[in-house]
Symmetry: D2
Subunit: 349 residues, 4 copies
């Protein structure tokens, strides 16, 4: 099933990004959830919150392979995969250590922390692609320094500018996005661990120590539960859409420059099934589409801020429908923009 182009065997060739999409596969999600359960068992054992050493749990998790048909049925019933996953893990661990699996945690801890772990990897990937774009655009500035082109304001020719003026207006926002990513990462890459209602009530006075140890083992920052405070995710979604928006401007400019074919020369444009003479600015158009797509999705991540009480099934589910696609859209746009920059043979006169 391939309802989304990001998952589509053919369309993802243009619109997808394999490396980013990989972090949202079932395999990656389950692996991250098992990392959570392993780190939790270790942290709780170290802090004396569970009476055993964690080795038995860790060993069983290493060999664990889920029954995905049952996981799917579990989601259909429970709305989340964790209750069934924990049942399977406990069965794999066996008596008596099974009682110490997932101790004090709840579904949302596992799912949100798994998400953050994978977002951490996605952030790294996207950050690298962003740097590559900055470098490529700076390269274009060097390549075409000294050339001029006609500025266009309100779709009308205005006055001549340097080609580097235009390119700088593509590059400068990307550098501000690098700055923004640094600022928000500290708020985003934070462990979620709160138990049934955010109070870690089963861990008593060991709660803070366990959470800190858990965060440390997972390479995440430690902070109180944020299960019903989704601002860091919405902020990150905003950042993703800022990036695709800036790249959409780049794509729109390239498509407009390519109309008459004199301001820009591109290698390798797209073909037509009827008009062999055409060189369509396919990647440029895709950048515009992905920018508008993320701008639309962003609205949903902000709707999900109205996350009622201690856990909102509906707002949380809405995030799942949106955020992974925004990440992949952004990675795809960055990949396409870098490729498009590499296709530029000539700019200006």
């Amino acid at each position: 099933m391939t309802v989304s182009p990001f998952d589509h065997p053919l369309l993802s060739g243009l619109l997808g990004d394999e490396e980013a999409a990989r972090h949202f596969s079932v395999e990656a999600d389950i692996a991250a959830m098992l990392s959570f359960e392993r780190a939790l068992a270790e942290a709780e054992a170290e802090c004396g919150a569970i009476p055993c050493d964690a080795a038995a749990i860790v060993k069983a998790l290493a060999a664990f392979r889920p029954d995905t048909a049952k996981l799917r049925a579990g989601v259909a019933t429970d709305g989340v995969v964790v209750p069934e996953l924990v049942r399977q893990i406990k069965a794999a661990v066996g008596v008596p250590h099974d009682a110490h699996v997932h101790f004090g945690a709840t579904s949302q801890d596992v799912i949100d922390t798994s998400l953050v772990l994978r977002l951490g990897e996605a952030v790294e990937h996207v950050g690298l692609l962003l740097s590559e774009n900055v470098v490529r655009l700076a390269g274009l500035e060097q390549d075409f320094e000294g050339r001029a082109m006609m500025a266009v304001t309100r779709m009308q020719p205005a006055i001549p500018i340097a080609v580097t003026d235009r390119i700088a207006s593509w590059r400068a926002p990307l550098q501000r996005h690098q700055e923004r990513l640094k600022e928000l990462s500290g708020r985003l890459l934070v462990v979620q661990f709160g138990g049934a209602a955010g109070t870690l009530e089963k861990l008593g006075d060991k709660a803070a120590a366990v959470r800190a140890a858990l965060a440390g083992k997972l390479g995440l920052a430690d902070a109180p539960q944020w299960h019903n405070q989704r601002d860091a995710l919405a902020e990150f979604a905003g950042w993703l859409s800022l990036v695709t928006g800036s790249l959409g401007k780049f794509g729109q400019d390239v498509a407009l420059m390519a109309q008459a074919g004199t301001d820009i020369k591109l290698t390798g444009g797209g073909g037509s099934s009827t008009m062999p003479h055409k060189q369509n600015p396919v990647k440029a158009e895709a950048l515009v589409a992905l920018a508008r797509f993320n701008a639309i999705q962003l609205s949903g991540m902000h709707q999900a801020l109205v996350h009622e009480q201690e856990r909102s099934g509906s707002a949380w589910t809405l995030e799942w429908l949106i955020l992974p696609q925004m990440v992949v859209a952004t990675a795809a746009a960055l990949r396409l923009a870098a490729e498009l920059a590499a296709q530029v043979e000539s700019l200006g006169h």
Copy 2:
């Protein structure tokens, strides 16, 4: 890769709909595109627009199996799958009939008509699910006639009403949606056939006859090209979101009624990984999430109305990113709503 929950092996157990998603698989898309090419060859042969009989093309199409790796690469280059697909078909048909494959058509004809063919099937599926919901809600009205409940206005208890008053406010919009679907179907299920720029310039005075014959063979209405007029698709997207919006109200009401547990009794709510006593109204919450999801996506289908000139690569691509998901979200919501109605054991007092 499973970026979208609609494609996700686990999450689609709750949020997906297999029958609807099937129409957006690569297989279904290619099959519909081949139907287009077959019907086109037949129509053109009958009308004398191509000099051969179409049997050779039809036979080759029946046996044709695409090289999907090359199709994927074609999308990456051309932005659409059709140029590479037509190359492969022509190779399969061979000299001399290959010259008459795809004659006078362009990529958008194939892709848009393939979409409409599959939307036709999706409309039927969704229409049946809608009827099922109307029947089930009418059944609840019968089952709980004579019972009363407290109306709630602005989140505060108001005055007693009949349980059937509440149920009727769930059912009545669905019946209006049935009426709307009839009205819009005639505008939606229309062949797209215009050639390179909408004028069918290669078919000369046979253009109208070929288009009519093509439409007839495909079971679609015949009308002039609409390749740069996307109102019927945006209208349909609006209908999908009206449906999920009405079901979201149903879901929100059920979740609110289930809070105290006295107004409604449901069988089979979702379990929690920490609180075995809980019965979460999972399907009701999912209805709210899907309603908000479609409300967000709808904005994108209307952005795509700004479809510049004779063909907009960016606006068209934006549709691909959105419409299939809206269809599946709607089918999933209808399935969930029918299941939720079936879970109602008791309503009112």
Copy 3:
């Protein structure tokens, strides 16, 4: 205060429409609410639902002038203007007839019916503007019949088409919008009358007769309450955005044609404060802006479908923030499009 350009003394010169905006003034709203109360008193008197004849109420309403400062304070406290308005009306009517003012009705009846009454006038205005646009575009088709221009697909020159092909792609959607408006008007222009929770409980067996009489006096269709079923409003909002979307395509095309200045000649473009040679396609750009604006707002009208229980304070308020602006944006776009069509001096070659 002029937060919205639609209300702004300067910006509304471009982006507003006085006739449409007039229906959303306080004066128009209060006048429509008083019409409701007057028609209600008459209907209830005729049906014997109130013991008096209605003349005293009608007379007092004719002379009634509200204390708007108190109305404003009432909105701040009650979230709706009606409780304070009814208090003022009752005081104006005086003992003993005051007891029969607003009998059996609730705030939402007054506000929603007032809205529908004014939407009815707006629909007429917008419908006329739509017809004018169809006529003007048909006029352009006549004026420039026989001329050719280069089709542009994916932002690249394709093959020559007739100028009338391009114009027809602007006109045809508008004619479908005329058809759609007819279909939806019957669902939109419906009285809302349900009382506290939709059951007209105070009117006993006279409820249906009173509602029918009330609808008749107001020139609206009669149907059961729809106070928590907002599909007709969301459908209408969708129609508004279809219209502006189609006009946005027209605007985008004109702006693109005006770039090189050879495909189209316009009289009276906008000036620049620095570049006296420029003729900016201001109206064309505004059409694109209004199309994107309505596409965004539409999402909100669909979010408001999740209208919980018998009355949702939050979803209802959300409609108020959005729908009037969508109506005015549409009227402004239609006005601008007609003006833009009239500015066309030359099209094609």
Copy 4:
């Protein structure tokens, strides 16, 4: 004309904020534009970019009163107010100094810098309201420390938590928003000065010095032109929506707590025109409506990132339709939230 509730004489009593709206009045806009022209004349005189001293211009500006009817007509023609405003200013200044008014600047410089000047004041106002909310919520934590309430997860009672746990989940995001505001302010409150196409071509080697002096006089940061890089505005819009989203969660929680009336007691809820016993949580509902409103609008500010070439008439106009409303919605939500917190008489048990 009062199309938007933020401008509406009655509805702004609930949904508006006078102090925030004041910054978007015509008067405030014109005053800020005149400040720009005055500071520009002074900066250019000091740097020797204009041959006169600036006193004559400054004096004329101090006495200048625009002809607003002509400004309105100018907007209708030019799409921006500046060309006509500059004509009027030049006439007021008179020969020979009129030649040095607005020297080297363009419309967008005036409008964008005027916006930023007023956003600076709005940021201060909103920042104060945000602090007030943090203080009030911290006050509630003190007032109700030691009390318990039932946590609710997925709309179902979960386990008891401290009342302070719930309040902290309202307060903590607001404190993160304070941190975010500091980070983004430096990117937002920046002078825009680029001339016709961003290159300040008329100022030659004095360009940088004039821009720095201009920024200094206006109390803004100095940076190269950002007229076609709208990321700082979109980022700020995202921040506004983060704030209203967090307050929407607060409002939704209060409305849900108020249902049964035992978890929370509020003074001064809203009345009903039919049910005198009701105490509607009007401010809480308005917070939800404003959160959803801003979440919707945010999509538009991100669409406007696709700001083609050196100046986009359509994307820029789209910002005007959206950003002021988002600012006022945020200020209104902050005001309402502080009032709502002050209405809390009792929380928990």
